[in-house]
Amino acid sequence: MKRRVFLKAVAGLSGLLFLPCPAKAGKFFSSPLARNRLRPPGAVSEEIFAGKCIRCGRCVEVCPYKSIIPLDIRSGVYAGTPLVLAEKVPCYLCMKCVKVCPTGTLQKIGQEETRMGLAVINRHLCYNWQEMTLCRTCYDVCPFKEKAISLHELKPLIHDDYCTGCGICTHACPVTADDGQKAVNIESLYANETVRW
């Protein structure tokens, strides 16, 4: 092969490889956390999560409800890290995962201190806030009833002092809008705190 041809081929190939670069690389390095996509209880800040987690899969294994799933290769550098899909199987706060984590990526905290995220009610979708129907489902299923969710004239209110972000309310919410949205969702607000070294 001539040097010229070789160089051409290399240039072409690498060009091809990097063509969809911005999109791919974005996904490759961006955190999988989003609405209703949460880390298990006690997780350290997302900034250092992927670095600290050794992908041992023990939390996935120990979860009796199969709430925690390991991310696969499509998640790039986050592959192998644990995630809870709140609307599919929420976290029931049995706190088994925090006990088995060998690295402290999931810190040993109690049920009440868990902050996987914060439940946020979309008042435009919620049957009660729209005064369509008397629904109390999120309140009924909440493990910290009266504290984390209270009913004000039958309308649910979330209190961030107590909401653990377990997602049980999201899972149970009977609202399914045309785009599959729920009226109560867990926003992973706390995961983005910056780490003070």
Binding site: P64, L93, L118, H124, T133, T137, D140, P174
Partner: protein
């Protein structure tokens, strides 16, 4: 949680951003998306609980697409609960039964057969059984969810045609004690007032009812009343802190089964502190010790003097103190209108009738009755337990129009109305529910028709009774819309049309009858029950060679089953059989019911009167047309009920009585069961609606935190609940709900591991024959940590 200013601002910003996500969508468009665009809206009443909410079914291209409340209905004012909003999803469900299924032996598999053949088999089996084993070897077990027309026609064919009074229904499991209570205290069945009293009441006495869970729309009305008037007092008496207790000013917690002492102690305080209404007592009240034994008011005073608040508090335990009892009695007697509400906590009891009597006693003593806001109101569990079964003759001892089977004159009235010879209806009442299923166990019943209910799940101590239904020599027909645990034990399964797929009337708690017209077609192959009975009766007449059976269905011959047939049945029932009775429905014709947004409250003797909405308060002259026509004197209240010859209210002397089974060394816990807001009875409908199933996929047991600590039970642990009859394995919810020493289980789950009626007790009230679901003794044991469970629907 401590947070810095910076953190707080950050979080606030993020939160507001998150909560306004829907904001950029135009308002109207989003509302429209929720309200579903239907071609037409069809009025009817809700299929589920006894509240009687008025709903509109949205139909698009001949298919149901949505449900919404009717704003000008006096029951729900447009509000619905989650069950009510979603039940339309049953209609097009793939699990719906679509063809008759038959098997010769219960060991075989079902095979599909034609309607012609199915009805032939049904008729032949019933005819054979009658010929070989006598008239009382066949039975009908119906439901408080069947339409009035259906119950009426079934019982007509069974009583007039097959000459048996073995006509029962599941209201025996829920309403019978309330019937007994109303008859013995007021002389006439069903409440004097209704929901309209909620907006006028100043004190609510809610005992043995978790209104928030079982009647959520009524709970909203009660809550609204309290929010609008801060002086309104709500007293909740329940061994369990429930969702209803949340709005209570006073919560009385006591050991299950001790509430008779509480109610007597309240009467004691009322008399002790002279809070009773002397004038009312003098004019309208007789004191009774037994049906034939009248006593003086002095003797009643002496009787309740024994129930001092101190003594009652010692019996009741829980959080009860003598002062709380006194406070309750004062609020009850002193308010400008006291409304008592109760459901199964009072009715499903060994002494359910007595408990009912004692609540009525308080109203009679204080005169908290017949005036605006004052009433003694038993809430019904099922949508048509009052209308269809109590009024329509759906129980073994009653005929349509609140007539007793035992009275010859009343039997003859019915026979005349039906145009059949006198003596066709046997004089002896049939088997009541528990006796019926015992008879099935003993093989005395050879052919049983179960309609629209699932006794394989809903009977107490169900293991015992399901053995009978599984017997090879018991031919069981089951007409239903979905497979249930009961269809699994049947020989012949008949697919029925659902609500809104047929026409008929439901009668709710407050004597209100509401019409639901057919709005969509039933799935191919499913038929309305009225058609099924008519066709079956015709074949039966042939096989039995009995012209009287054909006479029973003759007036309905040839009518199309969607409107004309139910209308003809309703006309016969309301015009011929309620005339001259207290539930006079002559004015509530289909024409009137179609015009009314929310139906008619009986008595309603004429159409013109029915168009005003009917009678809001019974027995009050000027408000109740029958009080005027039946008036014996010029007093403002006329108690014309047929059960009391003296035309008075009866004040009963009833002792505290223990439940049939109390906890002991081996079984140290009380077990109680109940309904959850998202599910209806045996879950055959609501379990198939994903939105509702998701909220409560399976039953669980509620354990008091102090008991849980003693037993080492943590939230979510699997727990064994065992009684002398059976056991369940359920996940635990540790929750400050049930009183210490009591556990509570929801009864909707169909899975054999979580079917709590295998544990409950089948003892029953000797008066009303209603079983004591609510109280039995059990033991509780932790078996393992949390386990993922799968919902189970047959």
């Amino acid at each position: 949680m401590a947070q810095s200013r910076r953190e707080f601002l950050k979080r606030t910003a993020a939160l507001s951003a998150a909560s306004y996500i829907g904001m950029n969508l135009p308002y109207r468009k989003q509302n429209a998306a929720l309200a579903a665009d239907a071609d037409s809206w069809h009025r009817g009443s809700c299929r589920l609980c006894g509240t009687g909410c008025r709903v509109e079914l949205g139909v698009k291209n001949g298919k149901a697409v949505a449900l919404r409340g009717v704003k000008d209905a006096r029951t729900n004012f447009g509000y619905l609960c989650m069950k009510g909003m979603h039940f339309w999803k049953c209609m097009g469900h793939p699990d719906r039964l679509r063809t008759p299924l038959y098997r010769e032996s219960k060991k075989d598999k079902f095979r599909e057969i034609s309607w012609e053949k199915a009805l032939d088999i049904a008729a032949e089996k019933f005819a054979d059984s009658v010929k070989k084993y006598g008239n009382d070897s066949v039975a009908y077990y119906g439901s408080g969810q069947a339409l009035t027309e259906e119950t009426y026609l079934f019982q007509k064919v069974f009583r007039g045609g097959l000459q048996t009074n073995n006509v029962e229904g599941n209201p025996r499991l829920c309403m019978a004690s309330a019937v007994g209570g109303y008859l013995t205290s007021f002389g006439a069945d069903e409440p004097i007032g209704g929901y309209a009293d909620i907006e006028k009441a100043h004190c609510f006495f809610i005992i043995g009812s978790n209104t928030a869970e079982a009647h959520p729309v009524l709970f909203r009305r009660i809550m609204r009343r309290k929010l609008d008037n801060k002086d309104v007092k709500i007293i909740n008496a329940d061994p369990r802190i429930s969702q209803t207790s949340r709005i209570a000013d006073l919560h009385l917690q006591f050991d299950p089964g001790t509430d008779l002492a509480l109610l007597n102690a309240m009467a004691n305080v009322i008399i002790e502190e002279k809070l009773y209404d002397e004038k009312f007592l003098e004019s309208y009240v007789t004191c009774k010790k037994g049906k034939k034994e009248t006593v003086s008011f002095e003797e009643f005073k002496k009787f309740v003097a024994d129930y001092t608040p101190e003594k009652a508090a010692a019996i009741c335990r829980g959080n009860m103190t003598p002062d709380k009892i006194r406070q309750t009695a004062r609020w009850f007697a002193g308010s400008k209108g006291t409304l008592s509400l109760w459901t199964m906590g009072i009715n499903q009891r060994k002494r359910g009738v007595w408990a009912n009597n004692l609540i009525h006693n308080l109203h009679i003593l204080t005169g908290q009755l017949l005036t605006p806001g004052a009433d003694s109101l038993s809430l019904t569990g099922q949508p048509n337990a009052c209308g269809g079964v109590r009024e329509g003759g759906g129980l073994c001892h009653i005929l349509p129009g609140h007539r007793l089977v035992a009275k010859e004159k009343l039997r003859n009235q019915v026979e005349d109305a039906w145009g059949i010879p006198h003596g066709r209806i046997p004089p002896k009442p049939g088997y009541h529910t528990m006796a019926l299923f015992s008879a099935v166990n003993e093989g005395k019943i050879k052919a049983l028709w179960v309609n629209c209910t699932s006794p394989m799940q809903s009977l107490p101590n169900v293991d015992l009774y399901s053995k009978g239904m599984r017997r090879e020599d018991v031919f069981m027909i089951c007409s239903d819309i979905f497979p249930t645990l009961t269809t699994e034990a049947a020989n012949l399964v008949l697919p029925a049309a659902f609500h809104f797929e047929k026409t008929g009337v439901y009668g709710c708690t407050e004597r209100r009858s509401q019409l639901t017209l057919k709005a969509v077609n039933a799935p191919d192959g499913a038929m309305p029950e009225v058609w099924i009975v008519r066709e079956w009766a015709k074949k039966l007449a042939e096989k039995m060679d009995d012209p009287v059976i054909s006479k029973c269905v003759e007036p309905f011959e040839g009518l199309e089953p969607d409107f004309a047939l139910p209308k003809a049945i309703w006309d016969e029932y309301s015009q011929k059989l309620t005339s001259g009775r207290d539930n006079d429905l002559r004015g509530a014709t289909y024409t009137v019911l179609q015009k009314m947004p929310d139906g008619v409250q009986w008595p309603a003797p004429t159409e013109a009167y029915a168009l005003t909405g009917g009678t809001v308060k019974k027995f009050v002259r000027g408000m109740d047309p029958l009080a005027d026509t039946h008036a014996k004197d010029d007093k403002p209240y006329q108690f014309y009920g047929h059960a009391h010859d003296d035309g008075k209210l009866w004040l009963w002397l009833r002792e505290q009585a223990d439940p049939e089974e109390i906890p002991d060394k081996d079984y140290p816990f009380y077990l109680s069961t109940g309904r959850i807001v998202d599910h209806w009875h045996t879950m055959s409908m609501t379990g198939r609606i994903p939105e509702l199933l998701r909220a409560n996929p399976y039953a669980f047991v509620e354990v008091n935190p102090r008991d849980a600590a003693k037993l080492g039970i943590k939230p979510g642990d699997m727990v064994e609940v065992e009684s002398r009859r059976g056991k369940n394995f359920l996940p635990a919810k540790v929750y400050e709900g049930p009183t210490e020493g009591m556990v509570f289980v929801y009864w909707h789950d169909q899975h054999p591991d979580r079917l709590i009626n295998m544990v409950t007790k089948d003892g029953y009230d000797p008066g009303s024959k209603e079983p004591e679901f609510k109280i039995c003794a059990c033991r509780v044991k932790r078996i393992s940590g949390p386990k993922p469970l799968k919902p189970y629907i047959v």
